[in-house]
Symmetry: none
């Protein structure tokens, strides 16, 4: 695992990320990735055992950070409101810094490897459940209105994710704080005046 080798590996991941985001998993061929990375087709197989594996590692490696951050956050002893706001911020920042990966995650969840698909699904479910716990705590503490904590958690994540379509086409300079405030307020107070 020399310096050079590692660099090549990153090149491949970068090329793959771009193409998967642009055209989706199935419409992207290994040949296309190799070409964009400026490498021979064979080289891809020296670094990744298969196209599926490449895709998985792409998602795992880059997505790991978000998952870890969120998990840490949810274990924090903050107030439900604070956790909620941070949850939004972390997801948004991730979406901005990883536009392509987000695009992939939100549009390509139908591919071959059932095991991996399940794993991602589990992870998503876990995230929902953790958020649900926070929501539940907020309800129990009388901070949040009573209701289905699961539906609420799902809806919150849906709202945040929906921003992807906006962020993906936006220019470089996005006022994250503003977007966070917007979402937080909408989740907390809704859109009704007063």
């Amino acid at each position: 695992m020399s310096e050079q080798s590692n660099k090549t590996r990153e090149n491949i991941l970068k090329a793959a990320m771009e193409l998967f985001a642009e055209k989706g998993f199935h419409e992207t061929s290994m040949a296309a990735i190799a070409k964009r990375a400026g490498l021979g087709k064979g080289t891809l197989y020296w670094h990744f055992s298969s196209k599926d594996e490449l895709f998985k590692q792409l998602i795992s490696e880059k997505g790991e950070g978000l998952f870890r951050q969120l998990r840490e956050l949810l274990n924090q002893k903050f107030s439900p409101e604070k956790i909620l706001k941070e949850f939004i911020r972390i997801k948004l920042i991730f979406m901005i810094e990883n536009r392509e990966l987000s695009q992939i995650l939100l549009n390509n969840m139908q591919f071959t490897d059932q095991e991996f698909k399940l794993k991602l699904f589990q992870r998503h479910k876990e995230m929902v459940q953790e958020l649900q716990k926070i929501i539940q705590r907020g309800m129990d503490e009388g901070i949040f209105r009573r209701g289905s904590s699961r539906d609420t958690a799902v809806a919150i994540i849906g709202m945040i994710n929906s921003m992807n379509s906006i962020l993906f086409f936006e220019d470089e300079d996005i006022d994250i704080t503003e977007k966070v405030e917007f979402l937080y307020r909408m989740i907390m107070c809704g859109i009704k005046n007063e």
Copy 2:
């Protein structure tokens, strides 16, 4: 176009719908569709000129209803709140009655035919813009709190769509009214107590 022929056509659409929802567009072969429909491969091509065409017609025909309903609604002279609530209801009912199509629409938006992809994208955009107008009207009338009407519209649609993951796995009897109320309240008042 006899009675029988039309029935066959519907069979194909049904089989295709199921498989596309289950495994996605690319992972579904024409052979698999034919087999599930209990037909020969060639028959599919008597009714649809290509796999792309089959997919397009599937989405167009079945999706047309939702689009029309929503458009009618948005042209109604109702109050913004009423329109919002009806918007939610219509989308939810569609999602329940067309679980498979919804699944497809939310997970397969990356396929070959760029023209059709664009058309769907345009339609989605139009929907957002129409909802945005309603939101804007509500803001102008002092019913809704001021803010980005676009972000609000996108977030609302995101919330509604997020319910798909819940509805898709749910049993038959879902209390739609309850779900509508839940979403409407959450959108209007948020989750904060009081």
Copy 3:
């Protein structure tokens, strides 16, 4: 075999002739023939057992005339020169009156049915041999210069056939007598002056 039935049959043959001449055997589908004849696909199979059979009958029926005429001619007790000239005339007239069939015969001799292919080949060979006999007779009688009678016969037929490319694109009014004279003279005297 009613009047009507026979008419339908002729329609099919006509449509097939046109298409085979235009696009060749393999590039012409039964569907295309049916469409041009203004009939359903199934109807073709009521009149002809297969595409091959249709093609064969097309060639046989229409080509039979030429074959018979030539055979009769070659059995005549005319002088070699007269037979040669008549040979040319009959072939040319046939080519003009059956442009499409000639086009087919000269460009589609590579198709499936080996047996029929062989039959046509045999017929062609027989024609050559008969002409060869005439040539030989002419040589023996001192009318024609001595040489390979086979090569001569083949060359003569080649010359006549080559006119097809001219006749096919020519307008309606072709002076046959002139063309016959041209070929006859060229065959007899060559192109040298004096």
Copy 4:
């Protein structure tokens, strides 16, 4: 483009040539070509983008030589007679050395790619026109008898081509000079004695 790669390419061309000559373009499948070349199907597509392309390159590459030779000849400042004789010689030699290609060129002129078909047709036409000019010159110089130079050129080429049916089935040792003399004399003097 290594040594080996080039060899594989030639193998494919050789196998394709044989099969196209034997059975024609449409009756020859890519699978059959691959099998005869002792290669996998996919390999054909590494070297040629499609079956059409393979066919085109086959004809272009191998046919180019004849075309070039004839063009050079026709630009020579030789006497019309000499050019005519050389014309015959070059065509005959080509037909003997490229029996299969000649067979293909004379029997498969009805295939898909209209553009290429036109190109070949144009080339043929050009050849006729060039020969026609020579004939015309001969007529003007009083060497050849007056008449339609076009018909004469077409007839000459027809005669030469007709030899293909003889050469194709002939054994290895053909006396080219004799055949050339035969054709030349027949064209010049015809078959009449004296």
